[in-house]
Symmetry: C2
Subunit: 197 residues, 2 copies
DNA sequence: ATCAATAATGAGATCTAGTATCAAATACTA
DNA sequence: TAGTATTTGATACTAGATCTCATTATTGAT
């Protein structure tokens, strides 16, 4: 499956994303038009939209998923779910080459920073539920599976928020701490409420 | 504070949202232009954008928050956090009049169904964290507060997913069950992972 | 090597969301 | 009732996104 056509398409796609991320970093997301991205990659505006349905998708597009899944699958059977997630999270980045890792970090940085993109997580409950179901041998529509998937997504959101608020805390560190904390239950679940004056 | 000007503005805003939701229901979100909404409410397109910063905001806008906050605050101090949330959730809708309740259900239906809106929850970690912090007398930037807020958001997402998959299960019922389940910890947190053939 | 079928591209035209400006209309105030 | 402040409509403009059509490039087979 490595025909010339395929290779050119893959290259064009990568070029578009690389130039887009660079331009976004240098002049901001809103300050960069699709026209400019296309010009930098030496294609027409129409071609950009053939590769990426929208301007947002050029940031959302990510081929690291496969690596993360492989790392997760490489863990020994019997590992507790949250532990396996933590380990996969920490290991994944080390599996990438330096330039790919750098580009991926820039991509995540932009996806986390730009308001238009920040709230739109590419990870849905359905997506996470499928992974949880596969890992535990259960059905994706199972109540516990869905809720577990939702909680993992919630932990992601919390980790992003925590690393945004705390400059010294990276997202990966925050996520790691969040997963560890969840093993002992939901924080403040039984906390009595108070009424302030 | 009930001058004619204020009343007219409130009426125009309500008209725009009512007509927008009706049109979205009948012809779909993407299939309805702001032009059409403005025409239905008998104002100009420019006026629409004065009341709602974007087309999405006409679905996002919600005045039920105040009711929910009041219901939550009405609960006795000392109530466990998740229990207070469940109770507030179940009670809030009963406090609304029938037509307001129907419109609110349509609004939630559209917000949950339309792809462009589905992922953009109006509830952020920061928003939820503020409420958790207020209820428990803690700091919003506290680790446990942020994580608890994230988990509650995750439970929302899971409840939406569950009610989407299961036609007989309403969102409110799913959310209620999710909050109840979380009191005993995170489902499947310690579940051993398996590898399928 | 050539040729026909297929896929990718570029060049527009068009639609719509969103922003800015200015003059007319409407509500407030004294 | 006159003057002031606010709201509105009309208009023009930018940019994202879709569509069509002619042109170019790639492929597979002769």
């Amino acid at each position: 499956m490595s025909t010339l056509r395929e290779r050119k398409k893959a290259r064009t796609r990568a070029d578009l994303q690389r130039h887009a991320l660079r331009l976004f970093r240098d002049q901001g997301y809103a300050g960069t038009t699709v026209e400019e991205i296309a010009a930098a990659a030496e294609v027409s505006r129409a071609t950009f939209f053939r590769y990426f349905p929208s301007k947002e998708d050029v940031v959302r597009y990510d081929d690291v998923d496969a690596v993360r899944d492989a790392v997760f699958a490489a863990q020994p059977a019997g590992t507790p779910l949250l532990v396996a997630l933590r380990t996969a999270l920490r290991t994944t980045f080390d599996q990438l080459g330096p330039e790919r890792r750098e580009l991926e970090e820039l991509r995540m940085e932009i996806a986390r920073t730009v308001p238009e993109l920040r709230d739109r997580s590419q990870f849905t409950v359905a997506h996470a539920a499928e992974q949880v179901a596969r890992s535990t041998g259960r059905d994706p529509s199972d109540f516990d599976v869905q809720l577990c998937a939702g909680v993992i997504l919630g932990a992601r959101l919390a980790a992003q928020s925590l690393s945004d608020r705390n400059p010294g805390l990276s997202f990966l560190e925050a996520m790691d701490a969040a997963l560890a904390r969840l093993e002992t239950g939901v924080p403040l679940a039984g906390e009595p409420i108070v009424h302030r004056a």
